[in-house]
């Protein structure tokens, strides 16, 4: 599979399907693992690093499922643009895209599973799906972890559990991240209170692209920080029964209040956003996202019907800088991208 095949469609996590898809964009679980007998990534020699890449790649190939086989991208050979495409699709982290040395990623064609080699740890494995589907993503990555564990001996400590390069990930090495769309809490200025409560529960709140990105706009990623002394099940259950249902309820209540008290103002905002996307001749990715967020809200509230969710999500992904350049088959400056983005959107909306 070449990366050019990828850019035509959105991965599973952007389908807008799954339980509570009105508020929950995607659910992700990742595990951090290191292979025993090798230093951690920052201490690997170039030769060890290459050797470990090959070893892990071989093991991953061997467990690759027949019905949805893994594709592999050697990131030390990929172009900057291709690496950026993978970041925009949430298949690799920014960190893995930007570092040097032997490293790679294996991912399923459905893009629900991605296994990063030589990121901060030897292996960072994630399963991601659209909607609120913790059990599914956990079962999937847990199974892959079991299969790989039969091929590699992981660094494991009787007291500290799975050992990781950074002690903040030690133990289970698990990071549960749920991406939420909270436009109504934002519009009613209640978002601060909710985010503060999340931080009081020692949860990390990040932006659309995870680590190192600001929680701006209407999209928020909530993740656990504690990985030691609680089992995977306990961490997952807290997300499943407490954290996420509570935030989803707050957002739903805020949406009801908006419709009830400020229906006209809300419709005005939604339809102006649609107007902007239909008519803009140059538009940034941030502004695009702001408008798409309102269209998404409008669709879920039944107040906007010009564009279905799938199309909204597709525009979101395809107007990211690297996807846009890939589609245009050219390197574009920021200004050129804004023009190309506006054109792409108008075409997708059936206008010219």
């Amino acid at each position: 599979m070449s990366l050019n095949d990828l850019t035509g469609l959105t991965g599973e996590w952007l389908r807008g399907e799954g339980p509570r898809n009105d508020v929950v964009i995607s659910t992700r679980v990742r595990l951090a693992r290191n292979v025993r007998g090798y230093p951690f990534v920052p201490r690997l020699s170039a030769a060890q690093r290459a050797e470990l890449s090959d070893l892990l790649r071989g093991g991953i190939h061997a467990i690759s499922p027949g019905q949805d086989p893994f594709a592999y991208v050697d990131l030390s050979e990929a172009t900057d643009l291709d690496r950026q495409v993978l970041v925009e699709r949430h298949l690799i982290s920014r960190q893995l895209a930007e570092t040097d040395g032997s490293r790679g990623v294996a991912f399923s064609r459905s893009e629900t599973v991605s296994l990063m080699i030589n990121e901060e740890d030897h292996l960072r494995m994630q399963s991601i799906r659209s909607g609120f589907r913790l059990d599914e993503v956990w079962d999937e990555i847990d199974r892959i972890d079991d299969l790989l564990e039969q091929r590699f001996e992981y660094a494991f400590h009787p007291r500290f559990g799975y050992l990781t390069a950074c002690p903040t990930n030690v133990g289970t090495g698990i990071r549960v991240s749920v991406m939420l769309h909270l436009p109504a809490l934002k519009l009613t200025s209640e978002i601060e209170r909710v985010l503060r409560a999340a931080k009081d529960m020692r949860l990390a709140v990040r932006g659309l692209f995870g680590e190192g990105t600001e929680a701006t706009g209407d999209f928020f990623q909530i993740s656990n920080q504690c990985t030691l002394g609680r089992s995977e099940r306990e961490i997952l259950d807290e997300f499943k029964t407490e954290i996420i249902p509570r935030i989803v309820d707050y957002e739903s209540e805020a949406r009801c209040a908006l419709v009830r008290d400020r229906g006209v103002a809300l419709d005005d905002k939604i339809w102006r956003s649609y107007g902007a996307l239909c008519n803009a001749r140059a538009i940034s990715s941030e502004e695009t996202l702001t408008h798409l967020s309102l269209l998404r809200l409008g669709s879920h509230l039944g107040r906007f019907d010009k564009l279905d969710l799938r199309a909204t999500n597709e525009i979101f992904l395809m107007t990211q800088p690297a996807h846009l350049q890939k589609a245009m088959n050219a390197r574009l400056s920021g200004e050129q991208r804004s023009v190309a983005r506006a054109e792409f959107i108008r075409k997708r909306l059936g206008l010219n």
């Binding site: 230093p39 564990e149 559990g161 903040t168 133990g171 020692r202 504690c226 002394g229």
Partner: protein, 161 residues
Amino acid sequence: MLCQRCKKEAATFHLTEIVKQETRERHLCDGCAQTEGLAIKQSPVDLSGMLAQFVLQPGIQELAQLSCPKCKMTFVEFRSSGLLGCAEDYDAFERALLPLIERAHEGNTRHTGKTPQRLGAGRNFQNDLVRLRRDLARALRVEDYETAARLRDQINVLQSR
């Protein structure tokens, strides 16, 4: 919006106070809100911050001299990068790492989750015991005796195996 108090940082704390029927809006940054006792210091786990605080503690100099016999990393090097050099560091630096690990993981220092199958079921069983005993202590603390009794029975079953 800038913080009304220090006028430097971005205001992230918004408060509407009603004093003698008069509404007053206040917009402060995290730091100033904490200084005024309006917010509790609650930042996400910030390893470099924790490390910096950690070195200020007396008696730490000796720990800073620790080094790993396997990968040769010193604790000082770890402190500057925040990343360990190899699995053996966890033992070599254990004394120095423990307070950090404790702080990063809500006071926990013992793994109770999944274990590699090659270590056998025995290990899982130990984990279950640790978890059950912890849950029991928690149940007793909140005087949930029904749960406590159930947990005690489970512990007895495991121990009699």
